[in-house]
Symmetry: C2
Subunit: 457 residues, 2 copies
C-alpha cells in the first residue's frame, strides 16, 4: 500500500476527467423530468466499476431511479465491504447565486466547484479509485461490493424494498460510506451519529380564490397569516418543539458524553462569522454543537403563497404553502413523528382555513459504536494519512438509509467522510478541496488493509 500516493500522482488528471464526466450529468433526483439523467449516471457508474476492476456491474431497476451494483469477490472466506454512495444530487436553486455553471466543474483555488463535487459524486468516486488502485496493485484484502443509488437526496424511497429484494446480493460485513464531513482539514473526524428526518409539505387554503385585500381584508382569514401563526406555534420561546409526544423517545445524552463532545474544537465566533450572523439561535440549555448533534430541530425549508412578483399587488390569497422538516435524534421514529406532526398541525388550524399535510419523506437516526473493527480500522487509516486520530462526532445531517441498512440487512455502517463545512453542499457554489479528494483516495485502501487485519483476529 506504500505506492498509493504515487499512483494518485500519476493518475490525478484522469481521475478528475472521469469525475467531471459524472458531475456533468445533471442527476437531480427531486425533478421528475430528470429521470433520463439518472439512467445516464447509473450507466456511467457501471462503467466506472468495470474499469476499476469489478467482476461484474449492473444497472438494476427500482420503482424509482435505478441502482448501480458492482462486485469483486476474491475469496468468499474473506470479509466483504459494501460501499454505499449516491449518484443523485440536490437541486441548484437559487441558480443566480452560483459563480459557475453547477454542472460544468471548474478547478479553482485548489477546489472542484460544481453540484455534487462533494455530495456525493466526489466522495463516492473516491471509492471507485481506491478500489481501482487495490485491484491494479494486487493488494485488495477483502471482497468488495458497490451499491450506488439515485434517490438519496429525496429520502431513498425505493431503496428499502431494493434491499429486501437483494438481501443475499448485498450481504456484507460492513457498509462503508463517504457522504459526511470532517471537522477541519487538520482535524479528522468520523461521524458516529446521524439525525433522522421527517419532511412534509403543507397547504393552507382560506377563501376559494384570491380576494381583494381591501374589500375582504379584516373579515376573512388570510392563509399566509394563518400559516405563519401555525408555524410559529410549533416551537415555543425556549426552542422546544411543541408537538405533543415529540420528545417522548428522545434519549437524553448523559452529562459525561456531553462533556466529551464539548472537547471537540468549536469556535463559536468563527462559526458565526462563516455564515455572517450576529447571534445563533436554538433550544435553551444546549450548545450549538448539541443543537445540531444530539437535539431535534424544526425548520421551514420553503414557503410560498400570494403575490411574489415584482411590485405591489394587494391580494388576500387563497392558498399558502410550506415545506417543513424536522431533524430527529436516534431512537425517535420518523413514522411516529410524522403522525404526531400531522395530527397536531391539523388540530391547531382555525376553522377559517382548510389544511392538507403531505408527508414527503422520512428516515431514522443512526449511531455507530466506536469499538467495532470497522470503526477501529477507519480510525487507524485516518491517523496514518492525517497524522492525528479522528474525533468521533455526532452529525446533524441525515442519511436515512443508513439505519434502514441496519434494520433490513443487519449490517452496521462506518461513515468515512472527507467533506468540509465550507463545501457548501446543498447550497450554491458547492465545492470539494482537491486535497480532501486525494486524501480520501489515499485513506480508503488503508481502511481495507486494517479492516482485513482486524477481522482476522
Amino acid at each position: 500500500m506504500d505506492n498509493i500516493k504515487g499512483y494518485i500522482d500519476e493518475n490525478k488528471d484522469r481521475f478528475l476527467d472521469e469525475l467531471f464526466g459524472l458531475i456533468r450529468i445533471p442527476s437531480i433526483s427531486s425533478i421528475e423530468a430528470n429521470k433520463p439523467e439518472m439512467y445516464k449516471a447509473a450507466e456511467y457508474w457501471k462503467q466506472l466499476m468495470l474499469d476499476a476492476g469489478a467482476d461484474k456491474a449492473v444497472v438494476l431497476e427500482t420503482e424509482g431511479n435505478p441502482v448501480t451494483y458492482g462486485e469483486k469477490i476474491i475469496d468468499p472466506a474473506l470479509p466483504t465491504v459494501l460501499v454505499y454512495g449516491h449518484m443523485d444530487v440536490m437541486p441548484v436553486d437559487p441558480i443566480e447565486l452560483w459563480d459557475t455553471n453547477p454542472f460544468e466543474p471548474v478547478v479553482k483555488d485548489g477546489k472542484i466547484w460544481a453540484r455534487g463535487a462533494d455530495d456525493d459524486k466526489g466522495q463516492a468516486f473516491m471509492h471507485a479509485k481506491a478500489f481501482e488502485y487495490m485491484v491494479k496493485n494486487d493488494c485488495l484484502p477483502c471482497n468488495v461490493k458497490f451499491m450506488i443509488e439515485g434517490e438519496e437526496e429525496v429520502g431513498s424511497p425505493n431503496l428499502p424494498k431494493f434491499c429486501q429484494e437483494h438481501k443475499e446480493m448485498l450481504k456484507a460485513d460492513i457498509i462503508l460510506v463517504s457522504d459526511t464531513g470532517m471537522i477541519a482539514p487538520d482535524i479528522p473526524s468520523i461521524t458516529t451519529g446521524l439525525r433522522g428526518l421527517m419532511y412534509w409539505e403543507v397547504e393552507v387554503t382560506g377563501p376559494n380564490r384570491d380576494l381583494h385585500s381591501g374589500l375582504f381584508g379584516g373579515a376573512v382569514a388570510n392563509p399566509i397569516n394563518v400559516l405563519a401563526k401555525m408555524i410559529t406555534q410549533m416551537v415555543d420561546e425556549n426552542g422546544h418543539i411543541t408537538i405533543p409526544g415529540f420528545y417522548d423517545d428522545v434519549i437524553e445524552v448523559s452529562k459525561e458524553e456531553r462533556a466529551m463532545m464539548a472537547k471537540a474544537p468549536f469556535d463559536v465566533e468563527e462559526y458565526k462569522k462563516a455564515i455572517d450572523v450576529k447571534e445563533l439561535a436554538g433550544e435553551k440549555g444546549y450548545t450549538p454543537s448539541e443543537h445540531t448533534g444530539i437535539r431535534p430541530s424544526f425548520d421551514i425549508c420553503g414557503i410560498w403563497g400570494g403575490y411574489i412578483g415584482e411590485g405591489a399587488k394587494t391580494v388576500l390569497p387563497s392558498k399558502a404553502h410550506a415545506k417543513i422538516s424536522t431533524r430527529l435524534v436516534p431512537n425517535q421514529d420518523w413514522e411516529k413523528i410524522s403522525v404526531l406532526f400531522k395530527d397536531h398541525f391539523e388540530s391547531i388550524a382555525p376553522d377559517s382555513v382548510k389544511v392538507v399535510v403531505t408527508p414527503l419523506h422520512g428516515g431514522q437516526g443512526y449511531v455507530c459504536p466506536i469499538d467495532i473493527p470497522a470503526y477501529q480500522a477507519a480510525d487507524k487509516a485516518y491517523t496514518e494519512v492525517y497524522g492525528k486520530r479522528p474525533v468521533p462526532v455526532r452529525s446533524g445531517g441525515s442519511i436515512p438509509i443508513i439505519s434502514t441498512f441496519e434494520e433490513i440487512l443487519g449490517t452496521k455502517s462506518v461513515l468515512m467522510g472527507f467533506g468540509l463545512e465550507s463545501d457548501a453542499i446543498h447550497s450554491p457554489n458547492e465545492n470539494f478541496p482537491l486535497e480532501q479528494f486525494f486524501n480520501g483516495i489515499n485513506t480508503i485502501p488503508l481502511f481495507y488493509k486494517h479492516y482485513a487485519e482486524l477481522m482476522k483476529k
Copy 2:
C-alpha cells in the same frame, strides 16, 4: 335623456368592440417591462375621448406612466365634472387559474370575462360612452374633463405631482369615479368611505447562504421561521394590530352610525359560502362589514423563501420575504403608519437575522358627505335606473388618490361604482356583467342632468 336606452341598444356591439380593444392591451402597471403597453392604452384612451366628442385630448407624461387628459368645455359658467379612471390593471397571477386568456375578452353567461373587464377599464369606459351619448344627443349639461391614469394599481405614485402641476387644467366642481362596486344587482349602493393603505416588502436574512438543514438546523436561526414569528406578532389574539401607536388616529365610529350600517343587507352564510370558508375571522367586537368598512386590517399579500420547487429539499435558507399590507381607516395617515410599522418590525427582529423593510406605496382613506349636490345627484340617478335608492356604504377597498385629489385640488369625489363582488377584481377570472355595464352607461347621463339642476339652485 329619454332615448339613452335606445342609444345603448343601437350601439352595444360597437361599445363592446371598443372596450375589448382597450382590454386587449396588457397594461399591467406593476411590471416595468409593460411600459410600452401603457402608452398604447393612453393613446387608445385619447382616441376614445376624441371620438366621443372631446374638444381636445392629450397624452401627458409623468415620471412614470402617462396620463390621458381630455375635455369638452361648453360654457365656463356651467359646473365642471372631472371624470377620473385608470387604464392600468393588476397582474394576472396565478395565470393557471384563469379559464380564459385574461387579455382576450370573452362574453359568456351575460358577463365580460377579462382582466380589467370591471377594474377599471370596463367601468371607466362607461363614462366615455355616456359622454358620447350626451354630446351626440346634444344634452350635455356640464363641462366635462377626463383624467385617465396608468398607475392606480401601484398606488398612483406620480399623480399627486401631476395634479400639482396641472391644478388649473384639472379645476372642477366634482370628481366622478367609477372604480367601486354596489352591494348586489338589485341593491344599488354608493361608496361613501374608502380605506387607506400601506404596502411594504420585507426581507429577512439569516445566514449568508442557504445551509444544509441537517448540519446547521437547530443552531442557526431560520429566516422563514423568524419571519413567520414576526408576522404572527403583528396581530394579537383579538385581531388587534400590535404596532404601537397604530390606532392612535382611528376615529371610533359612533354607535348610531354602526347601527345604521348594520341595516345594510348582509347575509353572513351567503358571504361564507361565496368564498367557501367555514368561519370568518377578524377583530373581536366588530361585524364582518365593520371589519372591512370601518376597521384597519393587516394582510400578508405574498410570502416566499427557501425551496419552493417540486419534491423535498432539505435546506436552511438564507432569506425569506413577504409583501405586507395594511388597510387604514380615514384619519389614519399612511406616512405615519409606514414609519410606525418599520420601526416596530425592525425592533422585534431577533439578533440572529437582518431585516430590511421597503415601503412600496400608501394612500389615505376618504369620506364623502352624503349631503353635497353631487352625492344627491348620484342618488337620484341610481334610483331612476335601479328602481330603489342606493345605500351609502363604507368600502374596505382603497383608492388612495381620492384623498389626494381633495388635498391638492380641493375637490370632493363621488364614487359611482357598478362593480359586483362576484366580479373577482384582482383575481383570476375577473368579469363584469353586461347588465351592470349598460346600466352604468344609462345611469351616468342622469347624474349629469341632476347635478346640473341641483347646482343651479
